[in-house]
Symmetry: C4
């Protein structure tokens, strides 16, 4: 075991693909989006990444087998657009690991001639979200302007904000390698896994990429979540003690 | 001192041994089982493992001497079955160390031609256990099926669960080396050192391995523990303040 | 990405410059001073330092673009005095990183023939400051005496005190390389970003360096801060709940 | 700067010296003892040890100068006995550092042909100590017996106890190199810097080494501490809120 181990399962030919990152984070927004995309697009897993920067644990699959904590890269080809999708169980649990894993993702991006990176995540505001919104940041001034056309708000009124983890570092370290990269953050409470925010992010992303995608599955999870939130609100009004843990199991 | 130092005390010949791991963890279940096995089988210590991933401390023996924090491997030979048993004072206290120590255990397993690994531990449920149960996971689909024949429940209804530390990583990293491995977890409260759960795990393990073992010692510790639990329950009913620390000294 | 990466943007000729360090810390005093100096003196950025010892994040600029967490070195030349100014987003978040980053700053100092280092920071006393004061420490006995002439109090009555981070290590590790270094700490509450304390430090520093500088900008921030403190005091008297976060936004 | 840097200030000839370690720890007992010894014996500093495993800080001396956090070794020669004394500002703040610094101390011990190591510390019992007592542990069975003759109690009734940090590791790692080593722990509350416990340890140590030493200075600090403890007790009886911080300043 080396600190980061890249297992290439399959070598595919891609034409200037875009890379989409959706690792676990606030509201699990990014991960929900890319998991949905992988399923809908039937993207193909081509790379597994293992690392001692991930937690020292295995996850138990539905069939009783286990799998090591890992990150994965999927490929998708279409006449119009090729894509690499980065998904995974966890982000690094050390500082150094965040930097080194991001460099690994960028090495892969460069090997495949990635033309642009989109990193996806959630932006926690500490209270329930009234209106779905997607805010953004980019590693290039022109890219900021281009993205504004898609209704993304840029955090100009909030300078000094920061983006932690792979979603941020892919922009920062990506710039050093000359790869244009945009971060799209769905506004979310920060308390709940948020498929509704994920839907908002996916919608914007599809518009940017010029692709269409069935959102049924995310829609259903979002509705389920809304029901939970409604119940939470009622319970709060009734001042009954809220048993968050149990409730949340429905929407995980 | 290197990061991990393997002291081979004795070289033995073993025939496709199984490896049993029982390092400290939830309810100390795994450690109780392997300590009992080492004593009952009169297994022989053949390897000591020192590492700066273990806590920087020495333990004081009964005779006033000290020993460095370490892990140990014992060997046992019989006409029917050979065995390596991994026991120890502590698990790694860093993330990286968990991965690297597990690789060390696997190096030793491969050197001895280990045919199968059993990792033992506890599965904490947060309340007192009514009925002893052993749940499992394996790094191979066929192994899951085989183990079901021994009454082990697999966590199929609970996907997303995870196994932390050596008990999990030996399965995950073992798979990469093609070594079949099973994890057996005794259900336990998670609050107490649990010889009763250890007994349940040992019973299943003996059945799987086709060996018999006197359980007297574990039985006695389990009875002692039951008395403590009874007292705890009564005190709880009487709403008297429970002095856990003192009570627990009896069963450590 | 190496652990510390020094990007030299421009090579300038300097004549035995002094180095001024003002990285984030107590009351942000040091950072406020050097940011003011860089602006007033129109100092030129010559070096960027990236490191995986900085937090794994990017900061969002006002125009929606991002920048990697970094430290920077600016140069300033004048007929009378040349200067290197060390500023930055963060200090190291690991122990080892503090030492290694400081060694990097000293490597740069030596490459430019730095004749003396001034490290700037705040000294938190846990309550509002009545009278502005600058206390000091130095890595050389003669330097202590020299500095006393400028009204700096030395912590002689308080032996056993310590200076954490780059402001301290530049003195300690600087001494090993024979570079004289002084630390100037503005006394501050430790609770608030403190432009008033920064002003006091800058005033003393200008006197020592024999330069003059417009303090208007710092003055204004200090006045703003005083208004906030006044409001805080009143609210405290009225025993109204103080919303620190909101208040502080004005003076960040 | 390397991870551990040994600065040899002076090379002395010693004849099978004993090594005495007294680094900061519980009740600062070990450090109080060796500081007293260094002063009383007028031992000579021969080695300074710097390391990035120490906290990233400098300490301010009484004259306003600073010194890097470090450990030091002093030498003392007498017709009857030669000695190396290990003192210092701090212990390692990482796990790995504890092991590597201890190896460094042992390297030095071996270079000087150290015949025996004594590590000194405190053993916190969580309440005020009625009767001074010194308990011990050793890395050799014969050494345990030998030490019992000096009235040291061995923790035989308390197996499973552990000794953390350099005081423990010097025994454990020392054994691997064949260096006999004893740990002497003064029983102490664990809440206060404890010169009284230090006195008890020093007394036993002098008896073992067959040397005499003036204890006036420690005696005075112990008396001062007793006065503070008396005051604390009275305040406790009066149920007045105890301002520990202030009180403790007297005896630091």
């Amino acid at each position: 075991m080396r600190e980061i181990q890249v297992h290439e399962l399959k070598r595919v030919e891609l034409k200037n693909p875009v890379m989409i990152e959706g690792l676990p984070g606030v509201g699990n927004v990014g991960k929900l989006v890319v998991e949905h995309m992988i399923e809908e697009l039937k993207a193909e897993k081509i790379i597994e990444i293992y690392s001692w920067y991930f937690p020292p644990q295995v996850f138990v699959n539905e069939d009783g087998t286990v799998r090591l904590c890992k990150n994965e890269i999927y490929a998708w080809k279409s006449p119009k657009l090729d894509m690499l999708i980065l998904s995974g169980d966890q982000q690094s649990i050390t500082n150094e690991g965040h930097y080194l894993l991001t460099e690994t993702y960028l090495d892969i991006a460069q090997r495949y001639g990635v033309s642009r990176i989109f990193t996806l995540g959630g932006y926690g505001i500490g209270h329930l979200v009234e209106e779905q919104k997607v805010i953004g940041a980019a590693n290039d001034r022109e890219l900021v302007e281009e993205m504004k056309n898609f209704g993304i708000e840029f955090m100009e009124e909030e300078p000094g904000g920061s983006i932690v983890g792979a979603s941020g570092l892919l922009l920062g370290l990506g710039k050093m390698r000359g790869i244009p990269a945009v971060c799209l953050l769905g506004v979310t409470s920060g308390y709940l896994v948020d498929p509704k925010s994920a839907q908002a992010v996916l919608r914007v992303l599809c518009r940017i990429l010029g692709i269409e995608m069935d959102m049924q599955a995310l829609e259903e999870r979002a509705k389920e979540m809304e029901r939970v939130v409604e119940r939470l609100k009622k319970m709060e009004q009734a001042q009954a003690p809220v048993r968050m843990d149990e409730e949340l199991e429905y929407i995980r």
